[in-house]
């Protein structure tokens, strides 16, 4: 059997069908500086046009041999479309993602999501970016993502309003989360209609070192479940931080697979989930891919350990930080492809 293309490999994996070897892919940031440079752009400009976003994504994937492209790159598109101003840090020499320095709403009551928000601001060019990628890199699957409602709330309001509100203003917090849940469903459907091949719901703000599992169950799980039920497959759920206490509840949310970051022990995670759940993670996105002091062999061992620990695909635990050390990054990807030829718990081999 001939080698699968990255797209075939990832799409089959997401359906738990046998594949040739393990993919290295993600539903979060996969854009890296060598790819951005090859495409001829500066970091602050890749967030603001379909063309620049698409080509920086394609070049990043091709240079590093990633099994996907992922757009968009930053977490402020929705907040900006609601009327907030973003900071692009165009004068900074460092790589800084866009942020919302000052939020226009200061209370939970003020939140209003515009109708058809996906037609506003930078969200409006995402379908065009997907189209460019599909036309020019048909071998690569296009992954898109949406923040979960709690984390998204932190982009439009001060996060402590939401955190304290969980106790002090339960009803209002619920209302904000419901409004954002509807928005996230709508944007996700729009991205799927535009041709994104898989979608990830990422809710990093609800890890078990921030919110109690009880709060997760009461406020978060029902909304994540509603979003995932409304989206088509393939759809994944990612939570950063301490997730072991949440994994069982995450598995009940209706995603086709779960992804975690370095604070989750994949062996324990696999033990909790059993062999049938598609489970992915959790490359350390600083030490293993960005730190010049990390020997390449250490990055290789990190990937092998993860595969031995029971992941079905190797995924960065978070956005890849774009200033990668190429040698380490490539070693991570190559090791995944070479060492991942044997079957993983939930996915067989051709």
């Amino acid at each position: 059997m001939a080698e699968l293309t990255p797209k075939e490999r990832v799409m089959r994996l997401l359906r738990k069908e046998p594949i040739d070897t393990m993919p290295f892919f993600s539903g979060m940031g996969m854009v890296v500086m060598p790819g951005i440079k090859k495409a001829g752009f500066n970091f602050p400009t890749i967030h603001t046009s379909a063309e620049r976003m698409a080509w920086s994504a394609i070049e990043s994937a091709r240079l590093m041999n990633f099994d996907c492209v992922v757009i968009p790159y930053d977490m402020t598109m929705e907040s900006e479309a609601m009327g907030n101003t973003i900071s692009l840090y165009e004068d900074s020499e460092d790589i800084l993602y866009p942020t919302i320095p000052n939020k226009m709403w200061s209370t939970l009551d003020e939140v209003v999501v515009p109708d058809k928000i996906w037609e506003k601001g930078r969200l409006a060019f995402l379908p065009e970016a997907i189209k460019i990628i599909k036309e020019n890199a048909p071998e690569l699957p296009v992954g898109c993502w949406q923040l979960g409602p709690f984390t998204q709330a932190g982009q439009i309001l001060e996060l402590d309003l939401m955190l304290k509100g969980v106790f002090k203003q339960k009803e209002k917090v619920g209302e904000v989360l419901d409004k954002l849940t509807d928005m996230i469903i709508g944007i996700g459907k729009n991205l799927q209609a535009a041709g994104c091949d898989y979608i990830v719901l990422r809710e990093p703000g609800v890890a078990a070192d921030l919110l109690s599992p009880r709060t997760f169950k009461e406020f978060i799980q029902p909304r994540l479940t509603r979003i995932l039920a409304a989206w088509d497959s393939p759809k994944l759920l990612h939570i950063c931080g301490k997730t072991e206490p949440l994994l069982e509840m995450m598995a009940q949310c209706g995603a086709d697979g779960l992804t975690v970051d370095i604070k989750c022990d994949v062996r324990k995670g696999r033990e909790i989930l059993g062999p049938d759940v598609l489970f992915m993670g959790n490359v350390d996105t600083y030490t293993m891919t960005c730190d010049e002091k990390t020997p390449v062999q250490k990055s290789i061992d990190h990937i092998k350990d993860m595969i031995d620990g029971g992941v079905d695909a190797v995924m960065p635990g978070c956005d890849l930080w774009p200033a990668i050390i190429e040698e380490n990054m490539k070693a991570c990807v190559d090791t995944t492809h070479e060492y991942g030829k044997k079957a993983s718990p939930a996915v067989g081999r051709l």
Partner: protein, 221 residues
Amino acid sequence: MATKEELLEKLKEGVVEYEEDTVKEASQQWLDEGYLALDGIMDGLAAGMEIVGDLYDKNEYFVPEVLMCADALYGGLAILRPHVPKSDEGVNAQVVIGSIQGDVHDIGKNLVKMMFDVAGWDVHDLGRDVPLENFVEEQLRTDSEVVAMSAMMTTTMLGMKKVIAMIKEKNPNVAIMLGGAPVTKDVANLFGADGYAESAGNAVSEGIKMIGRLREMRAKG
């Protein structure tokens, strides 16, 4: 009339149960009864926060509860602190604190700041989304002993490395504390930082432990 012990208990409980009004009322009562403001802060408010730290470590409290306890503590601190004579502080230290450029979250930073506020340090709070050079300039301007930085996002934490190098180059004796969700102990070591708090929650847990040590030192002294 409440006894000293009863009032201390009320201050402690008020912080633990995040009852801001109770804490304010008990703080005022404490002053009205003529007790030393610093005792109320250390043996009431800070002692309550120590219990909060324990509850957080035992996974009984999470960040929302800790934030509400912090509000209650600040309610009392605002009443008691102005009545502490400068000579009673026992601490004459300064800290520069802020969230690094690119990071607009400041929960972790504010929780660590609380620890310094309780301890009576002069806190130079630069806020959030702070350009790197501002940390260096503020440290030099104030000659602060400690610089505390936080980053909630992986993508901003690398800026810390530059700040540490810039500060250490100019003044190697400055102690540097890092905190924020993505900063692991390994990363803190690699960056050359002196202190480390793993997350917003651990920042408070670490901060509270420092309050505990401060209280121990005070008891001995």
